[in-house]
Amino acid sequence: MAKGTTVRMWHRTVFILILLIAVGFGAVVFSLVKLQLIEGPGLQELAMEQQLKDTTLTAKRGTIYDCNMKELARSATVWDVVLEPAFITDKDRGTIAEGLSKILGMSKSDIIERSKKKTYYDKLKGKVESDVKDKILKFKSDHNITNGIRLVENYKRYYPYGQFASTVLGFTGTDSQGLAGVEAQYNSALTGTSGRLVTAKNAVGTNMNFQYEQEVPAKDGNSLVLTIDEVVQHYVEKYLAEGAVNNKVKNRGCAIVMNVKTGAILGMAVKGDFDPNNPFVISDSSKKSEIDKISDKAQKSAATQQALQEQWRNKCISDTYYPGSVFKMVTGSAAMEEGLVKENTMFNCPGYLEIGGSKIHEWHAGGFGQLSFENGICKSSNIVFVQVGKMLGAQLFYKYFDAFGFADKTGIDMPGESRSLYRTADQMRPVDLACAAFGQSNKITPIQMITACCAVANGGYLVQPHAVSEILDSSGNIVKTASTAPKRQVISGDTSKRMCKILQKDATSGTAKSGYIAGYRVAGKTGTSEKTELEAKGQTGEYIASYCGFAPADDPQIAMLVFYDEPHGPNGYYGSPVAGPTFLGAMTQILPYLGIEPKYSSEELGKLDGKAPDVVGKTVADAKNAISKAGFSAKVYGSGSKIISQIPEPGKNIPKNGTVVLFTDMKSSSQTVAVPDLTNLSLSEANEKAADAGVNISIEGAALTSSSAVSSSQDVAAGTKVQPGTVVTVVFSEKNQVA
């Protein structure tokens, strides 16, 4: 069939179209080939440079918890406010400076000066929180500022409880690196590993889907679970601080509470510490004002550095001291273990002994005469222990000194532990041995002393003191657990039991009775050591007062060491009246908290409280009679003839020799009385004064077992208005005990 005109035209049209398409697309294809194959690699490189964004993902520092998973230290995101002077024009310089100066509290002129620098990065203020950051963002949006001010993410370390456990926790520096305490010791575990994010951004800055997008997530740091118990730490810090103030301590005080069987540190406090949120601020206000008065810049800077170093120093592990009579528990244990002495081995204490040309005096003028080894500990006789040291000899003494861990560091997981200063067996002269036997020759650290005390208490095992019990990863899985295996056995279980009994007697009726707690079978030893090393500087008469004890004596669980460096208060400088009340106060709270309930002996109960007789409804005369027969005194309020109410109520406990308050009319029952000052009184004086004022006293401390104790504190402040018959707890201690 012949091709029609239409078909031909169609063919021609198609041909032309194909031609046009070939020409047109040919150019495109040519261009594509040129761009993709010829210039492709080069252009890809340029695109990558322009579009790819490589962001470092900062890892978050791990959290520090106490043993009950309460957060003691954690990190949160904050921002650095950065000025970009290169982007700031004269037009908005003033606005930016004005706004930022108001928000950041900086000088406007200073910001203006800094905005003129030829740089893209000038940090104005670091680590601002969300509220400041929001203000800056609002300021930027209100004034349409896109460049010139930048907020860069950073992390800040927070310690929610301020100075609480500051010496244990330590603090971090500007780069979030640990500089002290467990923050420094476990810095590598706490610091995570930074991640990386590679993305592609378009011209507007939005993320583009990028086939090569890669994210290596940051690995957050591990967290630490400390052995510290927040409650125990609180009581240790509270009573240590009170004692430091009451005894006008010049050179700080410290206390350690340790689990006798595992070596876990339940509490460690130094008073004269710092706030880890502001570690570079001197916390001692008097020291700060002294330094502020220094005019010379260099001297001021040096004094500031010294003050900061002092407040950061963990006295419990970094300072050495003469342990004084507390060390007698070690010498005594060594002698008993070697079978050289028994509880009833008799010694003569004439008042002084001459050793190697030097006179060593007993603390009690005239000595104690004939006394047993057990009484030698209870009376803390230096002369008895000089003789015990001589019986041991230098070699044996050093053997036990080493075995108890005094020759080496304890290896506690905290930085800055000091070595002890001691004489080896070959270096000890007879006078050195004599002084070492009662703790006045070798210098040790408090952590070494309490570890040795735990060995005496727990059956003879030297434990490993540690502050961290577990390390957790960011998901909460346990990565590492601290070992609680003892290092070695130093003395036998039998020697340990016998020494515990002696120390219990010491805390009941010996020099350590200022730490006596009814119902808890406390064992303890006081110490008063002279700082003889200061004599070289012309300073004399400086002492360290300490108390080291554990409870319960029949199954020791917890040990505590308290020591005050250079006390100058009204209680003197002896271990018993200075450190004893701190031990008593803290352990009274800590032991029941840890589930150790009091078990009173009948003798103790007999000395403690009685039951108030029921006299409601009786006539005043009959009521007084009944109360007097029960061994109490009565105080009557009102003008009625019969008793309508009484305090304490019938059948309730009332301290021995206490006062039962009787009300005879409604008006009188709303009366109040002022609590008198019951400090610095003997037991009978305190009783009498309390009775006159119409309050009762409940006694704690030495008064339960001693007749010469003096009251040192009361739980209700003098002058407080209370109901008549209110019970005020008064703590007694022995003022004239030495060591």
Partner: protein, 164 residues
């Protein structure tokens, strides 16, 4: 052509071949029937081809548009996710900071202070505790029950009581 060398011209005796006359010229004009004419005037629109072409075009366009739309949505959603993650991160930071401030107000010292000074509370005194002297082998029993026990608890307590 006759052989010129032969004696006779036999071509004279051969039947005369008539020279072929040119075939008659066919007329250039083809007369088509009316129907065909009409048909040729309008090119045949083949319906099936058209529909299938349109369908294919629609499908291909649809795929292309869907693909492009998907990419756009993906980009937008990625942006939204990023913003949401950023907002979450910021709120978590604010929460952390507020939690820290809250914790600092509830330290043990603060609580103790508030309880004793503002609420007039005191720690349990020894005079508020009654000590009971017991011998070994004595046992105690709670008389005043505060909570309703289930039958399981009652059975267990009965078994414990029987065995003790």
């Amino acid at each position: 052509m006759a052989n010129q060398g032969s004696a006779y011209n036999f071509e004279l005796f051969e039947p005369k071949s008539h020279p072929r006359s040119a075939p008659p010229k066919r007329p250039n004009v083809i007369h088509l029937p009316k129907e065909k004419l009409e048909e040729n005037r309008r090119p045949k629109a083949k319906a099936v081809k058209l529909v299938s072409f349109l369908l294919v075009f629609a499908v291909v366009s649809g795929i292309a548009v869907t693909f492009v739309n998907g990419e756009v949505q993906l980009t937008e959603l990625s942006g939204q996710i990023e913003s949401a993650e950023k907002a979450l991160h910021e709120q978590q930071n604010v929460n952390s900071q507020l939690q820290i401030k809250l914790d600092s107000k509830f330290s043990m010292g603060t609580v103790e202070n508030y309880a004793s000074k503002n609420l007039g509370m005191k720690k349990t005194n020894r005079s508020q505790v009654t000590a009971v002297e017991v011998s070994k082998g004595d046992k105690s029993q709670v008389v005043a029950k505060t909570a309703v026990e289930s039958w399981l608890e009652r059975a267990w307590n009965a078994i414990k009581g029987f065995l003790s």
